[in-house]
C-alpha cells in the first residue's frame, strides 16, 4: 500500500483554532456550556497508585459532581485501567454513568497483538462498556499503515458491543498531516470515536490537533455517512479550555455533535475548575478549590 498523506497547513489550522478560542462565552452561554462540558466528561484516573477505594470515590463524584448545585449533571463516563474496570462498573451500576477502560498496552502500545486483544477482552469481561485503545505508533511511524489498521479492526471485533475509542497519540505523530492520516485510518478501521491523546505524552488535545481531527471526522462522515465521535484528552484542565473545545466542535461539526455520544473530554482536574466557574456565574465570586471535593 502506497501511503498518500493529506495536506494540512500548520499555520492556517492554528490560526483558525486560535480564532475560535476568542469566541466570547458569557452569562447563560457560559452556564449552559459548563453543564454541557460536565455531561461530556470522561472523568479519568490512570495512575499506578489507583486503588479500589480511590476509584469508588471518583465514581461517586462522577455521578454527583456537586451536591450543592443539583443542576450540574453527571459526567459521561469514568475511565480507568482494566484491573479497576470491575470496581468502577460495580460502583456505577444503575447511575447512567458509563465505565470506560484503557487497553492494548496503554499508553505506549508496545506489546503484541495477542496481548492487546486479551487485555481488551479482560476489560470487557470485567464490565467495561467503552474501550480506549492506542494505535501502534511504532507501526505508524515506520509507514506500516496496514498493521495499524489491522490492529484496530481486530480490537474492534474483540470489543463486541463495547464502544471503541482509538487514541492516535498526536504528540508522537510529529505533524498535522500525520494526525489527519492516523484519524482517517482509525475511522476506516471501525473506530466509534477518535481520541487525541493518552494524557501521558508531552502535549495533548491542543486546539490545532482538535481542529484537524474534527475536520477529518466531518469529511469522513460526508463521504461515508457514518458518524464518528471525538474525544479531546490531555491538557484540557481549565473551563476556558473546555469551552474552547466545545466551540471547535460546534463550528466544525455543528450542534448535532454537542452530545455525549459524539463528543467527550477526557480529563481529571478540569471538573473542579468547571464547578468553580459555574459557582462564580451564580454567586459572582470565585470560590476556593477546597469548596469542592477532589474526588
Amino acid at each position: 500500500m502506497i501511503r498518500r498523506l493529506p495536506h494540512v497547513d500548520r499555520v492556517g489550522i492554528e490560526e483558525r483554532a486560535a480564532m475560535l478560542g476568542k469566541r466570547s462565552i458569557k452569562t447563560t452561554a457560559k452556564q449552559q456550556g459548563i453543564r454541557l462540558a460536565v455531561s461530556m466528561l470522561d472523568l479519568t484516573t490512570l495512575e499506578g497508585a489507583d486503588t479500589p477505594g480511590k476509584v469508588r470515590q471518583l465514581c461517586a463524584k462522577a455521578v454527583c459532581p456537586a451536591p450543592t448545585m443539583p443542576e450540574i449533571p453527571s459526567v459521561a463516563a469514568i475511565c480507568v485501567y482494566p484491573a479497576l474496570a470491575g470496581v468502577a462498573r460495580g460502583a456505577l451500576q444503575g447511575t447512567g454513568v458509563r465505565t470506560a477502560s484503557v487497553a492494548t498496552g496503554f499508553p505506549s502500545g508496545q506489546v503484541g497483538l495477542d496481548v492487546k486483544l486479551r487485555e481488551t477482552e479482560d476489560a470487557i469481561a470485567a464490565g467495561a462498556e467503552e474501550i480506549d485503545m492506542v494505535i501502534s505508533r511504532e507501526a505508524f511511524l515506520a509507514g506500516d499503515d496496514a498493521r495499524v489498521q489491522e490492529e484496530i479492526v481486530r480490537v474492534k471485533e474483540a470489543c463486541g458491543d463495547a464502544h471503541l475509542k482509538v487514541i492516535v497519540e498526536t504528540a508522537e505523530l510529529g505533524s498535522y498531516d500525520h494526525v489527519r492520516h492516523a484519524s482517517m485510518i482509525s475511522m476506516e478501521a471501525g473506530a466509534d470515536f477518535v481520541k487525541t491523546s493518552t494524557g501521558k505524552a508531552a502535549t495533548g488535545a491542543t486546539p490545532g490537533v482538535c481542529l484537524v481531527m474534527l475536520e477529518a471526522i466531518r469529511d469522513y462522515a460526508e463521504r461515508t455517512g457514518r458518524i464518528v465521535g471525538f474525544k479531546a484528552a490531555g491538557g484540557v484542565s481549565t473551563s476556558k479550555a473546555a469551552l474552547h473545545r466545545l466551540v471547535l466542535v460546534k463550528e466544525t461539526l455543528g450542534d448535532e455533535w454537542l452530545t455525549a455520544d459524539r463528543f467527550r473530554i477526557g480529563a481529571s482536574s478540569v471538573l473542579n475548575d468547571l464547578l468553580m466557574q459555574y459557582a462564580k456565574t451564580e454567586t459572582g465570586r470565585y470560590g476556593r478549590s477546597e469548596d469542592f471535593s477532589k474526588e
Binding site: P6, G12, S24, K26, Q32, L36, T259
Partner: protein, 485 residues
C-alpha cells in the same frame, strides 16, 4: 447509547461596552494644532451604519478651510523637517503608544462609525495602526538606509485622502511615513467614517506634535477634489476607487506634484488541487468576508482547479453557514454592517447583474437587524470570465467562483484583469507557489494565507490598481525627493 443531552448551545449576546467612549457631540476641523470651526465649510452628521443613528456632527472643510490648513502646514514643515530624525521619531513613538493606550476606545468607535466587527477593529485595525507608527518611527533617523544611501529631503506638504474601509489604519499608513520623512500632512478622512481620524487628531495634540504638522480635514469628494487642486501641495497620496484616482491623475497632469494611487482590485485567489483544502477555505472566507468584503485587495475572484472545485465550493458553502452576521459590537460577530446606503445599493446592483447574466447565486440565510445596512454573505458559481461580477469590483461580501484546468490557465485567468492589486496562491508545493507568484501581475501575492498585513511589507498595485508602495522601506520613497533633483 443512553447518554444524551438535548441542549442547543448558542453564544449569548456579548456586546462590547461603549460607556468608556468619550465622543463629543460635535467635532471641528483639526488645523494648526487645534480644533476649529469651519470658515466656509459646513457640519454634517456621521451615522452608525448598523443602526442609522447619528453618532456626532463633524465639520467638513471648505476651500478657505483647506487654504488655512495648507498655510499652517507650510509654516510648520521647515522646522519639522529640520528636527533630527531621532527627535521626529520620539513624536511618532508617542503617537503609537497613545494609540495603544486608547486602543479599546478607538476599536469601538471604528466599529460604531464604519460597521466593521469589533473582533476586526480590536485585533486588526487598531494594533496595525499602532504598528505602522512604531515601524516608521524607527525609520525617521535612518532614511538614507531606506533609499540606498542617496541624499534625500522631504517632499514638503502632502495631501492625503483615505477611504472608509479601514479609516484609522489607512490614516496611519499615510501619516506615519510622511511624518517620519519630515513632511507636513493634510489628511482628509472619508465622509462616512471621520471619527477615528478625529480621535487621532486628539492623540496628535496629546503627543504635543508641533502645531500645523498634521491637519485633519473631513469632507466629501468635493473637499478631496479641492485639496488635490490646491496650490501649496507638493504630493498627493490617494487610496480609493479607480474612477476618482483617474480624476486626480488628470487634475495633476503637467504639475510638479508627486502622486501615488492605491485603487481598486479584483484580486484572484487561486486554489490548486494539491492545496490544504480546509485551510484554503478559511483563506477564501478571510479573503472575501473580512470587513464585509470592503477591502481593496479582497480575494473576490476565486479560481479553483476544476478537479477539486465541487469539493471546495461545498466546503466553502458549509463554512459560510457558520458566519455570524449582525451587531458589529458583538464580540462574536464575523460579518458586520455595510458601510453606507450608497455602498449597499452598489452591491445590490452588481449582484442583480450577476443573476441576470446567468451566474448561480447562493446567499446565506441569516437574520439581520431591520434597521441599518446589511448584505448577507453571497457566493456565485457558474461564473464566466466575461460576467460583470467577474470583472468589476463589488466591494462587498460577494465571491465569484471560476474554474481552471492547468497552472498556465490559472495564471492567464488571474492576469486577465484591468486590475492587479493582490492575489492568493493555495498549494502545498513550494516550487509551484514561487513559479506562479512570479508570473502574476499583482502587487501583493499571498501564499497559503490571505489579507495578511504587516507594516514591514510593501503594499501597492499593478495596472489600474495604482502605483506607488506603502509599507516598509518602499513606503518612504514617495515622501522623499533626491536632493538637487
Amino acid at each position: 447509547m443512553s447518554v444524551r443531552t438535548s441542549i442547543v448551545w448558542d453564544y449569548a449576546p456579548a456586546p462590547e461596552a461603549t460607556d468608556h467612549v468619550r465622543l463629543r457631540d460635535s467635532y471641528g476641523l483639526f488645523v494648526g494644532g487645534e480644533f476649529r470651526d469651519p470658515v466656509d465649510g459646513r457640519r454634517e452628521p456621521t451615522i452608525n451604519p448598523a443602526t442609522e443613528e447619528p453618532l456626532a456632527e463633524v465639520a467638513w472643510a471648505g476651500p478657505k478651510d483647506l487654504e488655512a490648513a495648507i498655510e499652517a502646514a507650510r509654516a510648520a514643515q521647515p522646522a519639522w523637517a529640520a528636527l533630527p530624525g531621532r527627535e521626529r521619531a520620539k513624536y511618532l513613538f508617542r503617537v503609537a503608544r497613545l494609540i495603544q493606550e486608547r486602543a479599546r476606545e478607538l476599536a469601538v468607535v471604528e466599529s460604531l462609525d464604519g460597521g466593521k466587527p469589533l473582533r476586526e477593529s480590536r485585533d486588526v485595525d487598531i494594533p496595525l495602526a499602532a504598528a505602522h507608527f512604531f515601524h516608521y518611527a524607527g525609520w525617521a533617523d535612518k532614511l538614507r538606509y531606506g533609499v540606498a544611501g542617496r541624499e534625500v529631503e522631504p517632499m514638503g506638504v502632502v495631501g492625503q485622502i483615505v477611504p472608509w474601509n479601514f479609516p484609522l489604519l489607512m490614516a496611519a499608513w499615510k501619516l506615519a511615513p510622511a511624518l517620519a520623512c519630515g513632511n507636513a500632512a493634510i489628511l482628509k478622512p472619508a465622509e462616512t467614517t471621520p471619527l477615528t481620524a478625529l480621535l487621532l487628531a486628539e492623540i496628535c495634540q496629546e503627543a504635543e506634535l508641533p502645531a500645523g504638522v498634521v491637519a485633519i480635514v473631513p469632507g466629501d469628494g468635493a473637499t478631496g477634489a479641492t485639496l488635490v487642486r490646491a496650490p501649496g501641495i507638493d504630493k498627493i497620496a490617494f487610496t480609493g476607487s479607480t474612477g476618482v484616482g483617474r480624476d486626480i491623475q488628470t487634475a495633476l497632469a503637467g504639475r510638479d506634484v508627486g502622486l501615488t494611487l492605491e485603487l481598486g482590485g479584483k484580486s484572484a485567489n487561486i486554489v490548486f488541487e494539491d492545496a490544504a483544502l480546509d485551510q484554503a477555505v478559511e483563506g477564501i472566507v478571510n479573503g472575501i468576508f473580512f470587513n464585509q468584503g470592503h477591502v481593496c485587495c479582497a480575494g473576490s475572484r476565486l479560481l479553483i482547479q476544476e478537479s477539486v472545485a465541487d469539493q471546495v465550493v461545498a466546503k466553502l458553502w458549509r463554512r459560510m453557514g457558520n458566519l455570524r452576521v449582525g451587531d458589529p459590537l458583538d464580540k462574536n460577530t464575523d460579518v458586520g454592517a455595510i458601510n453606507s446606503a450608497e455602498q449597499l445599493a452598489r452591491i445590490e446592483a452588481l449582484v442583480a447583474a450577476g443573476e441576470e447574466e446567468g451566474a448561480v447565486r447562493r446567499t446565506v440565510a441569516c437574520d439581520v437587524p431591520e434597521r441599518g445596512y446589511w448584505f448577507a454573505p453571497t457566493l456565485f458559481t457558474d461564473v464566466s470570465p466575461a460576467h460583470r461580477i467577474a470583472v468589476e469590483e463589488i466591494f462587498g461580501p460577494v465571491v465569484s467562483v471560476l474554474t481552471f484546468r492547468t497552472q498556465a490557465e490559472a495564471i492567464e485567468k488571474a492576469n486577465n484583469s484591468r486590475y492587479g492589486l493582490a492575489a492568493g496562491i493555495w498549494t502545498d508545493k513550494g516550487a509551484k507557489a514561487f513559479e506562479v507568484a512570479a508570473a502574476l501581475q499583482a502587487g501583493v501575492v499571498w501564499q497559503n494565507t490571505y489579507n495578511h498585513f504587516d507594516p514591514t511589507a510593501a503594499f501597492g498595485g499593478y495596472k489600474e490598481s495604482g502605483f506607488g508602495r506603502e509599507g516598509g522601506p518602499a513606503g518612504l520613497r514617495p515622501y522623499l525627493r533626491e536632493k538637487g533633483a
